[in-house]
Amino acid sequence: MRAFEVLNPGVFTTIQDLGRPGYMKYGIPASGIADRFSGQVANLLVGNPPGAALLEVTLFRLELLALNDLVIAVTGGNLSPTVNRDPLPMWQALPIQKGDRVAFRARKKGFRAYLTVQGGFSGQEFLGSRSVFVRGLMGTPLQAGNILEFEDPEGKSIPQGNFPQEMIPSFSILNPLRVILGPQEERFSPKGIETFLTSEYRVSSQSDRMGYRLEGLAIEHLQGADIISEPISRGAIQVPGDGLPIILLWDAQVSGGYVKIANVITADLDRLAQIMPGQSLRFQSATLEEAHLAWRMEILRFERIKRAIEGHG
Protein backbone atom coordinates (compact mmCIF):
# COMPACT_ATOMS: atom_id res chain seq x y z
CA MET A 1 0.00 0.00 0.00
CA ARG A 2 1.10 3.54 -0.74
CA ALA A 3 2.12 5.62 2.27
CA PHE A 4 3.74 8.79 0.93
CA GLU A 5 4.85 10.61 -2.14
CA VAL A 6 8.17 12.38 -1.69
CA LEU A 7 7.65 16.05 -2.55
CA ASN A 8 11.12 17.10 -1.37
CA PRO A 9 13.72 14.45 -0.43
CA GLY A 10 15.44 16.74 2.08
CA VAL A 11 19.18 16.87 2.71
CA PHE A 12 19.62 13.11 3.09
CA THR A 13 16.81 10.71 3.93
CA THR A 14 17.16 6.95 3.85
CA ILE A 15 15.14 3.89 4.79
CA GLN A 16 16.80 2.09 7.70
CA ASP A 17 16.07 -0.86 9.95
CA LEU A 18 18.41 -2.68 12.31
CA GLY A 19 20.80 -3.41 9.45
CA ARG A 20 22.47 -6.51 8.08
CA PRO A 21 24.96 -7.95 10.53
CA GLY A 22 26.70 -11.11 9.31
CA TYR A 23 28.24 -9.87 6.07
CA MET A 24 31.24 -7.96 7.33
CA LYS A 25 33.56 -10.77 6.25
CA TYR A 26 32.47 -10.01 2.68
CA GLY A 27 33.17 -6.32 3.08
CA ILE A 28 29.61 -5.24 3.84
CA PRO A 29 29.06 -3.10 6.93
CA ALA A 30 26.00 -3.72 9.09
CA SER A 31 24.52 -0.23 8.43
CA GLY A 32 21.13 0.36 10.10
CA ILE A 33 19.46 3.05 12.21
CA ALA A 34 22.11 5.44 13.57
CA ASP A 35 20.30 6.47 16.77
CA ARG A 36 18.86 3.09 17.67
CA PHE A 37 17.05 4.25 20.77
CA SER A 38 15.03 6.92 18.97
CA GLY A 39 14.35 4.72 15.95
CA GLN A 40 13.17 1.73 17.94
CA VAL A 41 10.96 3.90 20.18
CA ALA A 42 9.29 5.36 17.05
CA ASN A 43 8.37 1.86 15.96
CA LEU A 44 7.07 0.83 19.38
CA LEU A 45 4.83 3.92 19.49
CA VAL A 46 2.86 2.77 16.43
CA GLY A 47 2.85 -0.90 17.47
CA ASN A 48 5.58 -2.05 15.06
CA PRO A 49 8.37 -4.46 15.95
CA PRO A 50 11.26 -2.23 17.16
CA GLY A 51 13.35 -2.99 14.08
CA ALA A 52 10.73 -2.23 11.40
CA ALA A 53 11.93 -0.16 8.43
CA LEU A 54 11.54 3.60 8.94
CA LEU A 55 12.85 6.87 7.53
CA GLU A 56 16.04 8.35 8.90
CA VAL A 57 15.75 12.07 8.23
CA THR A 58 18.88 14.22 8.28
CA LEU A 59 18.53 17.93 9.03
CA PHE A 60 15.56 19.39 7.11
CA ARG A 61 13.57 20.07 3.95
CA LEU A 62 12.03 16.60 3.71
CA GLU A 63 8.42 16.98 2.63
CA LEU A 64 5.99 14.10 2.21
CA LEU A 65 2.42 13.85 0.96
CA ALA A 66 0.27 11.17 2.64
CA LEU A 67 -1.39 8.92 0.06
CA ASN A 68 -3.52 7.08 2.64
CA ASP A 69 -4.82 7.54 6.16
CA LEU A 70 -1.83 6.56 8.29
CA VAL A 71 -0.64 6.36 11.87
CA ILE A 72 2.87 7.79 12.15
CA ALA A 73 5.37 8.65 14.88
CA VAL A 74 8.36 10.98 14.77
CA THR A 75 11.22 10.71 17.28
CA GLY A 76 14.92 11.56 17.47
CA GLY A 77 16.35 15.01 16.91
CA ASN A 78 13.92 17.91 16.80
CA LEU A 79 13.92 19.04 13.16
CA SER A 80 10.69 21.06 13.57
CA PRO A 81 8.34 18.54 12.01
CA THR A 82 4.96 19.82 10.86
CA VAL A 83 1.67 18.42 9.56
CA ASN A 84 0.04 20.86 7.14
CA ARG A 85 2.18 23.63 8.70
CA ASP A 86 1.05 22.88 12.28
CA PRO A 87 3.72 21.59 14.65
CA LEU A 88 3.77 17.80 14.68
CA PRO A 89 3.90 16.41 18.23
CA MET A 90 6.93 14.13 18.53
CA TRP A 91 7.39 10.95 20.59
CA GLN A 92 3.77 9.83 20.22
CA ALA A 93 1.57 7.98 17.73
CA LEU A 94 -0.29 10.39 15.48
CA PRO A 95 -3.09 9.60 13.01
CA ILE A 96 -2.84 11.62 9.78
CA GLN A 97 -5.10 11.69 6.75
CA LYS A 98 -4.73 11.15 3.07
CA GLY A 99 -3.62 14.47 1.57
CA ASP A 100 -1.80 15.68 4.69
CA ARG A 101 1.68 17.08 4.23
CA VAL A 102 4.45 16.18 6.66
CA ALA A 103 7.56 18.36 6.55
CA PHE A 104 10.78 18.91 8.50
CA ARG A 105 11.47 22.61 8.53
CA ALA A 106 14.47 23.54 10.68
CA ARG A 107 16.90 21.89 13.03
CA LYS A 108 16.35 22.73 16.69
CA LYS A 109 18.09 19.89 18.49
CA GLY A 110 19.95 16.77 17.40
CA PHE A 111 20.76 15.86 13.81
CA ARG A 112 18.59 12.89 12.78
CA ALA A 113 14.87 12.34 13.16
CA TYR A 114 12.99 9.09 12.68
CA LEU A 115 9.61 8.82 10.99
CA THR A 116 7.80 5.53 11.09
CA VAL A 117 4.39 4.41 9.89
CA GLN A 118 2.16 1.80 11.46
CA GLY A 119 2.81 -1.43 9.52
CA GLY A 120 6.36 -0.33 8.64
CA PHE A 121 7.76 0.80 5.29
CA SER A 122 8.15 -2.00 2.77
CA GLY A 123 10.65 -1.36 -0.01
CA GLN A 124 13.33 -3.66 -1.31
CA GLU A 125 15.36 -5.90 0.98
CA PHE A 126 19.05 -6.45 0.40
CA LEU A 127 20.63 -9.39 2.22
CA GLY A 128 17.80 -9.50 4.71
CA SER A 129 17.64 -5.78 5.48
CA ARG A 130 16.00 -2.69 3.99
CA SER A 131 18.76 -0.39 5.27
CA VAL A 132 20.01 1.76 2.44
CA PHE A 133 23.76 1.41 1.94
CA VAL A 134 24.61 3.61 -1.01
CA ARG A 135 28.21 2.51 -1.68
CA GLY A 136 27.16 -1.14 -1.69
CA LEU A 137 24.48 -0.45 -4.31
CA MET A 138 21.79 -1.28 -1.77
CA GLY A 139 19.18 1.35 -2.38
CA THR A 140 19.47 5.12 -2.71
CA PRO A 141 18.50 8.11 -0.58
CA LEU A 142 14.94 9.35 -1.19
CA GLN A 143 14.38 11.27 -4.39
CA ALA A 144 11.60 13.65 -5.32
CA GLY A 145 8.68 11.77 -6.80
CA ASN A 146 9.44 8.48 -4.98
CA ILE A 147 6.37 6.63 -3.75
CA LEU A 148 6.99 5.00 -0.37
CA GLU A 149 5.02 1.83 0.25
CA PHE A 150 4.06 0.39 3.61
CA GLU A 151 2.69 -2.87 4.94
CA ASP A 152 -1.03 -2.81 5.64
CA PRO A 153 -1.42 -2.80 9.45
CA GLU A 154 -4.79 -4.51 8.90
CA GLY A 155 -6.76 -2.69 11.53
CA LYS A 156 -4.17 -3.28 14.27
CA SER A 157 -4.72 -0.84 17.12
CA ILE A 158 -2.01 1.42 18.45
CA PRO A 159 -0.47 0.62 21.85
CA GLN A 160 -2.37 1.80 24.93
CA GLY A 161 0.48 3.30 26.94
CA ASN A 162 2.57 6.41 26.49
CA PHE A 163 6.19 7.26 26.09
CA PRO A 164 7.28 8.81 29.39
CA GLN A 165 8.15 12.32 28.16
CA GLU A 166 10.87 12.75 30.80
CA MET A 167 12.75 9.99 28.97
CA ILE A 168 13.19 12.07 25.79
CA PRO A 169 16.96 12.27 25.29
CA SER A 170 18.40 15.75 25.78
CA PHE A 171 20.82 15.38 22.84
CA SER A 172 23.20 17.47 24.86
CA ILE A 173 26.70 17.74 23.47
CA LEU A 174 28.17 18.77 26.81
CA ASN A 175 28.96 15.32 28.15
CA PRO A 176 32.08 13.73 26.71
CA LEU A 177 31.80 10.56 24.64
CA ARG A 178 33.19 7.64 26.56
CA VAL A 179 35.86 5.54 24.84
CA ILE A 180 37.82 2.36 25.42
CA LEU A 181 41.45 3.05 24.55
CA GLY A 182 43.08 0.77 22.00
CA PRO A 183 43.65 -1.50 20.26
CA GLN A 184 46.75 0.49 19.20
CA GLU A 185 47.06 3.09 21.95
CA GLU A 186 50.72 2.11 22.38
CA ARG A 187 51.36 3.58 18.93
CA PHE A 188 50.73 7.08 20.32
CA SER A 189 52.96 9.19 22.54
CA PRO A 190 51.67 9.96 26.06
CA LYS A 191 51.30 13.52 24.80
CA GLY A 192 49.20 12.23 21.88
CA ILE A 193 46.87 10.32 24.21
CA GLU A 194 46.60 13.40 26.41
CA THR A 195 45.73 15.61 23.43
CA PHE A 196 43.03 13.15 22.43
CA LEU A 197 41.49 12.95 25.89
CA THR A 198 41.67 16.61 26.85
CA SER A 199 41.05 18.69 23.74
CA GLU A 200 37.88 19.56 21.91
CA TYR A 201 37.20 18.27 18.39
CA ARG A 202 34.87 19.78 15.86
CA VAL A 203 32.87 17.48 13.59
CA SER A 204 33.92 18.32 10.03
CA SER A 205 31.44 18.95 7.25
CA GLN A 206 32.92 15.91 5.50
CA SER A 207 31.09 13.59 7.86
CA ASP A 208 28.39 11.12 6.94
CA ARG A 209 27.03 7.70 7.87
CA MET A 210 30.47 6.20 7.11
CA GLY A 211 32.26 8.27 9.65
CA TYR A 212 32.83 11.53 11.45
CA ARG A 213 36.00 13.37 10.53
CA LEU A 214 37.18 15.57 13.38
CA GLU A 215 39.08 18.84 13.35
CA GLY A 216 41.23 20.07 16.21
CA LEU A 217 44.67 19.43 17.67
CA ALA A 218 46.68 16.78 15.86
CA ILE A 219 47.38 13.63 17.87
CA GLU A 220 51.04 12.66 18.01
CA HIS A 221 51.98 9.18 16.77
CA LEU A 222 55.07 7.35 17.95
CA GLN A 223 55.99 5.50 14.76
CA GLY A 224 53.72 6.43 11.92
CA ALA A 225 50.04 5.91 11.31
CA ASP A 226 50.03 2.77 9.20
CA ILE A 227 49.30 -0.78 10.21
CA ILE A 228 48.54 -3.84 8.15
CA SER A 229 44.85 -3.51 7.39
CA GLU A 230 42.66 -5.08 10.01
CA PRO A 231 38.92 -5.29 10.68
CA ILE A 232 37.30 -2.20 12.18
CA SER A 233 34.68 -2.31 14.92
CA ARG A 234 31.80 0.15 15.03
CA GLY A 235 32.80 3.38 16.76
CA ALA A 236 36.54 2.84 16.21
CA ILE A 237 38.61 6.03 16.12
CA GLN A 238 41.43 5.86 13.61
CA VAL A 239 44.14 8.47 13.40
CA PRO A 240 45.76 8.83 9.97
CA GLY A 241 49.09 10.55 9.35
CA ASP A 242 47.71 14.07 9.74
CA GLY A 243 46.85 13.28 13.37
CA LEU A 244 43.17 14.15 13.03
CA PRO A 245 40.84 11.43 14.29
CA ILE A 246 38.05 9.83 12.27
CA ILE A 247 35.25 7.95 14.04
CA LEU A 248 34.11 5.03 11.89
CA LEU A 249 30.41 4.41 12.03
CA TRP A 250 27.41 2.60 10.57
CA ASP A 251 28.34 2.44 6.88
CA ALA A 252 32.13 2.45 7.35
CA GLN A 253 34.48 0.25 5.42
CA VAL A 254 34.99 -3.05 7.20
CA SER A 255 38.77 -2.96 7.14
CA GLY A 256 41.37 -0.24 7.46
CA GLY A 257 45.08 0.40 7.69
CA TYR A 258 45.41 3.28 10.15
CA VAL A 259 46.17 2.97 13.86
CA LYS A 260 43.19 3.23 16.16
CA ILE A 261 43.57 5.15 19.38
CA ALA A 262 40.21 4.21 20.92
CA ASN A 263 36.64 3.09 20.33
CA VAL A 264 33.46 4.91 21.37
CA ILE A 265 31.45 2.75 23.76
CA THR A 266 28.22 1.28 22.40
CA ALA A 267 26.04 3.07 24.94
CA ASP A 268 27.23 6.44 23.58
CA LEU A 269 26.76 5.78 19.85
CA ASP A 270 23.14 6.99 19.81
CA ARG A 271 24.25 10.29 21.33
CA LEU A 272 27.02 10.55 18.75
CA ALA A 273 24.46 10.00 15.97
CA GLN A 274 22.74 13.22 17.04
CA ILE A 275 25.85 15.40 16.90
CA MET A 276 25.98 17.38 13.68
CA PRO A 277 28.86 18.69 11.61
CA GLY A 278 30.12 21.98 13.05
CA GLN A 279 29.44 20.91 16.63
CA SER A 280 32.20 19.97 19.03
CA LEU A 281 32.80 16.92 21.15
CA ARG A 282 35.22 15.59 23.73
CA PHE A 283 36.37 12.14 24.71
CA GLN A 284 36.72 10.52 28.10
CA SER A 285 38.42 7.23 28.83
CA ALA A 286 36.25 4.48 30.34
CA THR A 287 36.94 0.94 31.49
CA LEU A 288 35.33 -2.09 29.87
CA GLU A 289 33.36 -2.67 33.07
CA GLU A 290 31.96 0.86 32.94
CA ALA A 291 31.10 0.45 29.26
CA HIS A 292 29.34 -2.87 29.82
CA LEU A 293 27.42 -1.48 32.77
CA ALA A 294 26.34 1.53 30.70
CA TRP A 295 25.15 -0.78 27.93
CA ARG A 296 23.22 -2.92 30.40
CA MET A 297 21.51 0.21 31.72
CA GLU A 298 20.61 1.21 28.15
CA ILE A 299 18.96 -2.15 27.53
CA LEU A 300 17.05 -2.01 30.80
CA ARG A 301 15.93 1.57 30.09
CA PHE A 302 14.63 0.48 26.69
CA GLU A 303 12.75 -2.46 28.23
CA ARG A 304 11.10 -0.16 30.77
CA ILE A 305 10.03 2.22 28.02
CA LYS A 306 8.74 -0.67 25.94
CA ARG A 307 6.52 -1.78 28.82
CA ALA A 308 5.29 1.76 29.39
CA ILE A 309 4.35 2.21 25.73
CA GLU A 310 2.65 -1.17 25.60
CA GLY A 311 0.59 -0.05 28.58
CA HIS A 312 1.97 -2.40 31.25
CA GLY A 313 4.04 0.37 32.76
Partner: protein, 242 residues
Amino acid sequence: MEGSPRILPAGDQAILIEFGLEINPAINRLVQAFARNADQHRIPGIGELIPSYCTLLIYYDPFLLSFSQVEQWARSLFGSNLLEAKISPEVKEIPVVYGGLYGPDIEFVARHNQITAEEVVQLHTRETYLVYVVGFSPGFAAMGTVPSKIRTPRLQTPRIKVPAGSVGIGGIQTGIYAVESPGGWQLIGRTPLTLFDLKRNPPAYFQAGDYARFYPISEEEFEKRRIQESEVIIKNHCKMFN
Protein backbone atom coordinates in the same frame (compact mmCIF):
# COMPACT_ATOMS: atom_id res chain seq x y z
CA MET B 1 54.58 -14.60 18.34
CA GLU B 2 53.13 -17.96 17.38
CA GLY B 3 51.61 -19.90 20.24
CA SER B 4 50.59 -16.78 22.10
CA PRO B 5 48.63 -14.39 19.93
CA ARG B 6 47.68 -11.11 21.58
CA ILE B 7 44.05 -10.54 22.50
CA LEU B 8 42.98 -6.91 22.74
CA PRO B 9 39.69 -5.15 23.33
CA ALA B 10 38.40 -3.35 20.23
CA GLY B 11 35.74 -1.28 21.93
CA ASP B 12 33.23 -2.81 24.33
CA GLN B 13 31.66 -5.36 21.96
CA ALA B 14 34.59 -6.88 20.09
CA ILE B 15 38.00 -8.42 20.63
CA LEU B 16 40.92 -8.31 18.25
CA ILE B 17 43.26 -11.27 18.05
CA GLU B 18 46.71 -10.51 16.63
CA PHE B 19 48.36 -13.57 15.10
CA GLY B 20 51.31 -11.66 13.69
CA LEU B 21 52.32 -8.34 12.27
CA GLU B 22 52.98 -9.09 8.61
CA ILE B 23 51.32 -10.11 5.38
CA ASN B 24 52.41 -13.67 5.08
CA PRO B 25 50.54 -16.78 3.85
CA ALA B 26 51.45 -18.89 6.91
CA ILE B 27 50.06 -16.34 9.38
CA ASN B 28 47.01 -15.71 7.21
CA ARG B 29 46.26 -19.47 7.04
CA LEU B 30 46.49 -19.55 10.83
CA VAL B 31 43.92 -16.73 11.04
CA GLN B 32 41.63 -18.56 8.60
CA ALA B 33 41.97 -21.87 10.42
CA PHE B 34 41.33 -20.24 13.78
CA ALA B 35 38.26 -18.43 12.42
CA ARG B 36 36.80 -21.69 11.07
CA ASN B 37 37.53 -23.45 14.34
CA ALA B 38 36.00 -20.63 16.39
CA ASP B 39 32.94 -20.64 14.16
CA GLN B 40 32.46 -24.35 14.86
CA HIS B 41 32.93 -23.91 18.60
CA ARG B 42 30.75 -20.87 19.19
CA ILE B 43 29.32 -20.26 22.62
CA PRO B 44 26.18 -18.15 23.18
CA GLY B 45 27.03 -14.45 22.84
CA ILE B 46 29.69 -14.84 20.16
CA GLY B 47 28.78 -12.81 17.06
CA GLU B 48 30.47 -12.07 13.75
CA LEU B 49 33.98 -13.29 13.03
CA ILE B 50 35.91 -11.07 10.63
CA PRO B 51 39.30 -12.36 9.49
CA SER B 52 41.98 -10.16 7.98
CA TYR B 53 45.66 -10.55 7.02
CA CYS B 54 47.02 -11.35 10.46
CA THR B 55 44.17 -10.40 12.76
CA LEU B 56 40.69 -11.62 13.58
CA LEU B 57 37.93 -9.43 14.99
CA ILE B 58 35.23 -11.17 17.02
CA TYR B 59 32.03 -9.42 18.06
CA TYR B 60 30.41 -10.47 21.32
CA ASP B 61 27.31 -9.57 23.27
CA PRO B 62 28.40 -8.01 26.57
CA PHE B 63 24.99 -8.78 27.98
CA LEU B 64 25.96 -12.46 27.88
CA LEU B 65 29.74 -12.46 28.03
CA SER B 66 32.47 -10.46 29.73
CA PHE B 67 35.74 -9.65 27.97
CA SER B 68 37.59 -12.19 30.11
CA GLN B 69 35.08 -14.92 29.24
CA VAL B 70 35.56 -14.23 25.55
CA GLU B 71 39.31 -14.17 26.04
CA GLN B 72 39.21 -17.48 27.89
CA TRP B 73 37.09 -19.05 25.17
CA ALA B 74 39.50 -17.84 22.48
CA ARG B 75 42.54 -19.09 24.43
CA SER B 76 40.94 -22.51 24.82
CA LEU B 77 40.76 -22.72 21.03
CA PHE B 78 44.45 -21.91 20.50
CA GLY B 79 45.34 -25.27 21.94
CA SER B 80 43.29 -27.32 19.48
CA ASN B 81 45.06 -28.66 16.41
CA LEU B 82 44.43 -25.64 14.25
CA LEU B 83 46.51 -26.45 11.26
CA GLU B 84 44.81 -29.78 10.81
CA ALA B 85 41.56 -27.92 10.28
CA LYS B 86 40.42 -28.27 6.69
CA ILE B 87 41.92 -25.86 4.22
CA SER B 88 39.72 -25.20 1.23
CA PRO B 89 41.55 -26.90 -1.66
CA GLU B 90 39.45 -25.26 -4.38
CA VAL B 91 41.31 -23.02 -6.80
CA LYS B 92 39.04 -20.50 -8.51
CA GLU B 93 40.06 -19.90 -12.13
CA ILE B 94 39.66 -16.27 -13.12
CA PRO B 95 39.57 -15.21 -16.79
CA VAL B 96 41.18 -11.81 -17.38
CA VAL B 97 41.59 -9.60 -20.41
CA TYR B 98 44.95 -7.91 -19.84
CA GLY B 99 46.06 -4.43 -20.88
CA GLY B 100 44.44 -1.82 -23.07
CA LEU B 101 41.44 -0.01 -21.65
CA TYR B 102 40.86 -2.97 -19.37
CA GLY B 103 44.25 -2.68 -17.69
CA PRO B 104 45.49 0.88 -18.24
CA ASP B 105 48.46 0.54 -15.85
CA ILE B 106 50.02 -2.60 -17.35
CA GLU B 107 52.65 -0.58 -19.23
CA PHE B 108 53.57 1.26 -16.04
CA VAL B 109 53.93 -2.03 -14.15
CA ALA B 110 56.12 -3.34 -17.00
CA ARG B 111 58.30 -0.23 -17.12
CA HIS B 112 58.59 -0.11 -13.33
CA ASN B 113 60.01 -3.63 -13.37
CA GLN B 114 61.90 -3.28 -16.68
CA ILE B 115 60.00 -6.06 -18.37
CA THR B 116 57.39 -6.19 -21.14
CA ALA B 117 53.60 -6.17 -20.75
CA GLU B 118 53.55 -9.78 -22.07
CA GLU B 119 55.93 -10.77 -19.28
CA VAL B 120 53.65 -9.10 -16.73
CA VAL B 121 50.82 -11.33 -17.94
CA GLN B 122 53.03 -14.43 -17.89
CA LEU B 123 54.18 -13.73 -14.35
CA HIS B 124 50.76 -12.76 -13.06
CA THR B 125 49.14 -15.96 -14.39
CA ARG B 126 51.98 -18.18 -13.17
CA GLU B 127 51.13 -18.25 -9.46
CA THR B 128 48.25 -19.63 -7.44
CA TYR B 129 47.29 -16.94 -4.95
CA LEU B 130 45.84 -17.18 -1.48
CA VAL B 131 42.93 -14.79 -0.84
CA TYR B 132 44.07 -13.04 2.34
CA VAL B 133 41.16 -10.72 2.89
CA VAL B 134 37.79 -9.89 1.39
CA GLY B 135 36.33 -6.51 1.91
CA PHE B 136 38.12 -3.19 1.45
CA SER B 137 34.99 -2.50 -0.54
CA PRO B 138 32.10 -4.97 -0.94
CA GLY B 139 33.54 -8.24 -2.29
CA PHE B 140 37.06 -6.85 -2.94
CA ALA B 141 39.51 -9.77 -2.79
CA ALA B 142 43.13 -9.08 -1.82
CA MET B 143 45.52 -11.93 -2.54
CA GLY B 144 49.19 -12.69 -2.81
CA THR B 145 52.00 -12.90 -3.08
CA VAL B 146 52.86 -11.78 -6.61
CA PRO B 147 56.24 -12.65 -8.20
CA SER B 148 58.86 -10.04 -7.30
CA LYS B 149 59.21 -8.98 -10.96
CA ILE B 150 55.69 -7.50 -11.08
CA ARG B 151 55.50 -5.86 -7.65
CA THR B 152 54.55 -2.20 -8.04
CA PRO B 153 53.59 0.49 -5.52
CA ARG B 154 50.06 1.85 -5.55
CA LEU B 155 49.12 4.96 -7.50
CA GLN B 156 50.19 8.28 -5.98
CA THR B 157 46.63 9.52 -6.36
CA PRO B 158 43.91 6.89 -6.23
CA ARG B 159 41.35 6.81 -9.04
CA ILE B 160 37.90 8.06 -8.14
CA LYS B 161 36.23 5.24 -10.08
CA VAL B 162 37.62 1.81 -10.75
CA PRO B 163 35.28 -0.40 -12.81
CA ALA B 164 33.93 -3.62 -11.29
CA GLY B 165 36.04 -6.66 -12.22
CA SER B 166 39.29 -4.68 -12.44
CA VAL B 167 42.39 -6.68 -11.53
CA GLY B 168 45.16 -4.70 -9.92
CA ILE B 169 48.55 -4.91 -8.29
CA GLY B 170 49.16 -3.15 -4.99
CA GLY B 171 52.71 -3.68 -3.74
CA ILE B 172 53.23 -7.41 -3.17
CA GLN B 173 49.53 -8.16 -3.60
CA THR B 174 47.09 -8.57 -6.42
CA GLY B 175 43.39 -8.01 -6.06
CA ILE B 176 40.04 -7.71 -7.78
CA TYR B 177 37.56 -4.87 -7.38
CA ALA B 178 34.16 -6.55 -7.13
CA VAL B 179 32.09 -3.38 -7.42
CA GLU B 180 32.87 0.00 -8.95
CA SER B 181 34.67 2.00 -6.28
CA PRO B 182 37.55 4.40 -5.72
CA GLY B 183 40.93 2.67 -5.69
CA GLY B 184 44.68 3.06 -5.88
CA TRP B 185 45.92 -0.29 -7.19
CA GLN B 186 47.71 -0.50 -10.56
CA LEU B 187 45.13 -1.89 -12.96
CA ILE B 188 46.45 -4.56 -15.31
CA GLY B 189 43.26 -6.20 -16.57
CA ARG B 190 39.62 -6.97 -16.01
CA THR B 191 37.58 -10.12 -15.46
CA PRO B 192 34.10 -10.58 -16.94
CA LEU B 193 33.00 -12.56 -13.87
CA THR B 194 30.42 -10.98 -11.59
CA LEU B 195 32.17 -11.01 -8.23
CA PHE B 196 29.51 -9.34 -6.17
CA ASP B 197 25.83 -10.06 -6.62
CA LEU B 198 23.20 -9.25 -4.04
CA LYS B 199 20.98 -12.02 -5.42
CA ARG B 200 23.55 -14.60 -4.35
CA ASN B 201 24.23 -15.77 -0.85
CA PRO B 202 26.97 -15.17 0.03
CA PRO B 203 26.98 -12.13 -2.25
CA ALA B 204 30.77 -12.16 -2.65
CA TYR B 205 32.36 -14.64 -5.07
CA PHE B 206 35.52 -14.90 -2.99
CA GLN B 207 35.93 -15.77 0.64
CA ALA B 208 39.08 -15.29 2.64
CA GLY B 209 41.07 -18.52 2.46
CA ASP B 210 40.13 -19.30 -1.16
CA TYR B 211 42.80 -19.82 -3.79
CA ALA B 212 42.75 -18.12 -7.17
CA ARG B 213 44.60 -18.41 -10.46
CA PHE B 214 44.27 -16.07 -13.41
CA TYR B 215 44.25 -16.95 -17.12
CA PRO B 216 44.30 -14.58 -20.10
CA ILE B 217 41.36 -14.20 -22.46
CA SER B 218 40.79 -12.04 -25.52
CA GLU B 219 38.71 -8.90 -25.69
CA GLU B 220 36.07 -10.76 -27.75
CA GLU B 221 35.92 -13.52 -25.18
CA PHE B 222 35.57 -10.88 -22.43
CA GLU B 223 32.62 -9.21 -24.14
CA LYS B 224 30.98 -12.59 -24.82
CA ARG B 225 31.36 -13.60 -21.16
CA ARG B 226 30.02 -10.25 -20.02
CA ILE B 227 26.85 -10.75 -22.07
CA GLN B 228 26.42 -14.27 -20.67
CA GLU B 229 26.88 -12.97 -17.14
CA SER B 230 24.30 -10.23 -17.62
CA GLU B 231 21.81 -12.78 -18.98
CA VAL B 232 22.24 -14.85 -15.84
CA ILE B 233 21.75 -11.75 -13.70
CA ILE B 234 18.62 -10.75 -15.62
CA LYS B 235 17.27 -14.32 -15.34
CA ASN B 236 17.85 -14.36 -11.57
CA HIS B 237 16.27 -10.98 -11.32
CA CYS B 238 13.14 -12.11 -13.20
CA LYS B 239 12.89 -15.18 -10.98
CA MET B 240 12.51 -12.90 -8.01
CA PHE B 241 9.41 -11.34 -9.47
CA ASN B 242 7.71 -14.56 -10.67
